[in-house]
């Protein structure tokens, strides 16, 4: 769909970004030491840190991806909400306090607290980098998806814009300004989404007359490589003789055959939807390819389908989970694996873990987690209303599920659209700056200082961190362009799988099993990371959307590796620890004795 930029949107957007940058510069002038840069001097108030958790965690994926998935497929998107929140239980009850007690800057500190091993530090740092980069991809894709309709820029410009602004924030001030950006963004996001939810319930449902049944998008590639897009047979555009995709998604029948429901209560909203008929749009699985004199035309067909609301209010409507109802074991394993990865992934995300070092003690770590759970949980309940609101407001772009939430806001007027889009953009800024900071901390603190033993003085540590932030930022921009076509929530699901496989077994076992050895930890991280990463790169989604290959040829039997790779990393840790603990006993003998024997 072609989106027209509006001056209201541009103005509100400009004010938001200027405000965020202004705060960042102001606070940045206060943080000069490395402890200030990476951990905000450990002096952030627990309440601010708690909301900043929400700002950090409620990423573009939560906001844009989940809303989009619910808007297209119903309840399936909410499964992510449930899993993302459940992960905080692991963070609060198992990880938070010991992690705070044992570390200083990064989670590698905590892992390595009793070993003082360079191997553990290097493995933890590499896994931090890999997870952060993987988590950065959906954020950048989300940024591109947002800026397109808001400012009328291309995906590439959107990605570049976010990259430059975020690197500026991180380079300016590090953790202090990042925390405040996340605090502001977290508060705004939850507050405005609550308002939007109230507006959705006030509007209720209205039946729309039936019109469109099919939309076709054809991309014509001429022999010289130039691409041209056609919609329903005419060139895509707003001029005479041109056409564009129609916004879709309506209620077709309401219970009692009424035309409109009027305002609905929070539970009534679902009981009415349950008994309604909803028009949803699905992409035909096969694209039509035609070779002509002027080039190759690839046509994607989207068709309207009438579905009972009751089918959309249970899991199983999306392509990922559709096998849940027909006994397909692969779909069931995929589902269990994803839910496991979401549960175990939160407490393994480096950018979440570093936030435990910004508060002063374990009590603050605990309290801020509870504030985080309250605000994040409340937001995830809202995603259901936002998603189903988008599904039935006649605002969806069939080609882009990530735009559902801002397009829903547009149905309430240009201002609502501008505010929600600007918040979504700051959402991307908040999360991306946290991730870049985590990655830069891993490079400087774990790799340069602790692994390579380069003795940097305090100022040089900050400079090196800023340099690392620029490099990671550029990498994130490149990946954001390459993965443009994928739903951001799906991508985040992968990042959780990798984080949970690489980091969680090591973290849990270091905290709870005395027999853990440094070799066990190192190998567990490496095996967990490589196995899950390889699995993801050989999955059918990567084949289809990233390499453009036939998804049927994919080597991975199902998409979400967690159910195999998380236990695998645990097994590796235990087996290697058992083997190496015997060896280390012999190593404890004085060298001379060993030689004589």
């Amino acid at each position: 769909m072609i989106y027209q930029a509006s001056w209201t949107a541009i103005l509100v957007f400009g004010v938001f970004v200027a405000g965020v940058l202004g705060i960042s510069f102001y606070l940045g002038s206060k943080a000069k030491s490395s402890h200030g840069y990476y951990a905000a001097h450990g002096q952030i108030h627990w309440f601010v840190n708690g909301i900043a958790f929400a700002g950090d965690y409620l990423s573009a994926a939560s906001f844009l991806g989940i809303c989009g998935m619910i808007a297209f497929y119903g309840y399936d998107g909410f499964l992510y909400s449930i899993g993302y929140l459940a992960g905080w239980i692991v963070a609060l009850f198992v990880i938070a306090e010991p992690l705070k007690r044992m570390g200083k800057f990064t989670f590698a500190d905590a892992l390595d607290a009793q070993f003082h091993s360079r191997g553990v530090k290097l493995a933890a740092a590499i896994s931090t980098l890999v997870v952060s980069l993987f988590y950065l991809i959906p954020q950048m894709v989300g940024a591109g998806a947002l800026v397109k309709p808001l400012l009328g820029f291309s995906h590439l410009t959107g990605v570049l814009l976010v990259g430059v602004v975020v690197v500026t924030i991180v380079v300016t001030a590090g953790m202090v300004s990042t925390t405040w950006v996340q605090f502001i963004k977290g508060s705004l996001l939850v507050f405005f989404c609550a308002i939007l939810t109230v507006m959705i319930m006030q509007r209720g449902f209205t039946v729309a007359p039936e019109d469109l049944q099919e939309q076709r998008v054809t991309v014509l590639t001429s022999p010289d490589g130039a691409k041209k897009t056609f919609v329903n047979g005419v060139p895509q555009g707003r001029g005479p003789g041109e056409g564009d995709l129609q916004p879709v998604g309506h209620i077709r029948r309401l219970p009692g055959d009424v035309a409109s429901t009027g305002p609905l209560g929070p539970f009534e909203y679902f009981s009415v939807l349950e008994k309604s008929q909803v028009e949803v749009w699905r992409q035909e699985p096969k694209k039509l390819t035609e070779k002509t004199d002027v080039g190759t035309a690839v046509t994607t067909v989207y068709r309207a389908q009438l579905k009972p609301g009751s089918d959309l209010l249970v899991p199983g409507a999306s392509p990922t989970f559709k096998g849940l109802h027909n006994g397909d074991w692969k779909a069931k394993v995929d589902f269990v694996s994803l839910m496991l990865a979401l549960f175990a992934g939160t407490a393994s995300l480096p950018h979440i873990l570093i936030r435990y070092y910004t508060v002063k003690d374990q009590a603050s770590a605990r309290k801020s987690t509870v504030v985080g759970i309250a605000s994040i949980g409340f937001f995830y309940v809202l995603t259901l209303y936002l998603g189903f609101g988008a599904m039935t407001s006649g605002a969806l772009d069939v080609t882009n599920s990530n735009m559902a939430a801002p397009l829903l806001a547009r149905t309430f007027g240009e201002l609502a659209f501008a505010v929600i889009s600007a918040i979504a953009f700051t959402t991307v800024l908040g999360t991306v700056s946290g991730l870049i900071l985590a990655a830069s901390g891993a490079v400087v603190h774990d790799i340069l200082t602790n692994f390579c033993k380069i003795d940097l003085h305090d100022g040089a540590k900050v400079t090196a961190g800023k340099l690392a932030a620029v490099v990671v930022g550029v990498l994130a921009m490149i990946l954001g362009v390459a993965f443009e076509k994928m739903n951001v929530t799906f991508l985040v699901g992968w990042a959780f799988n990798i984080a949970a496989s690489a980091n969680l077994p090591a973290l849990v076992m270091v905290l709870f099993w005395k027999g853990t050895t440094k070799t066990g930890v190192t190998l567990s991280i490496i095996v967990g990371m490589l196995s899950s990463l390889t699995w993801v790169l050989f999955s059918k989604e990567a084949y289809q959307h990233v390499y453009g290959l036939n998804p049927a040829d994919a080597l991975a039997p199902f998409s979400q590796p967690g159910i195999v790779t998380i236990p695998l990393a645990f097994v590796v840790l235990v087996v290697v620890s058992l083997l190496t603990s015997k060896k280390s006993n012999s190593e404890l003998l004085p060298e001379t004795m060993v030689h004589k024997a």
Partner: protein, 86 residues
């Protein structure tokens, strides 16, 4: 054993109990979805189905357990009332 590590151990014990309680509920939700998905579409209270209630319930229970933990947890250093919310 120091006061500090006693508190940490007490908190860890509480944390693990609550963790396993939640894990049980979460695993139950996943199990029903994977093995008996038809249960999810049954209407429950107020004309709203089991899927919506159980999903929202899991979110609400997570918050409830978090507050319970905050109430029971103790601080490592001797702070007056430091374990309470606020």
């Amino acid at each position: 054993m120091s006061q500090s590590s006693l508190c940490s151990q007490r908190n860890a014990r509480w944390g693990l109990r609550l963790f396993f309680l939640y894990l049980f509920l979460y695993a139950g939700f996943i199990g029903v979805n994977a093995l008996a998905p038809e249960v999810m579409s049954h209407p429950w209270w107020g004309g709203v189905n089991v899927a919506i209630w159980s999903g929202m319930g899991l979110i609400a229970v997570a918050f409830g357990l978090a507050v319970l933990y905050l109430y029971h947890a103790e601080d490592d250093h001797h702070e007056q009332g430091g374990s309470q919310v606020g």
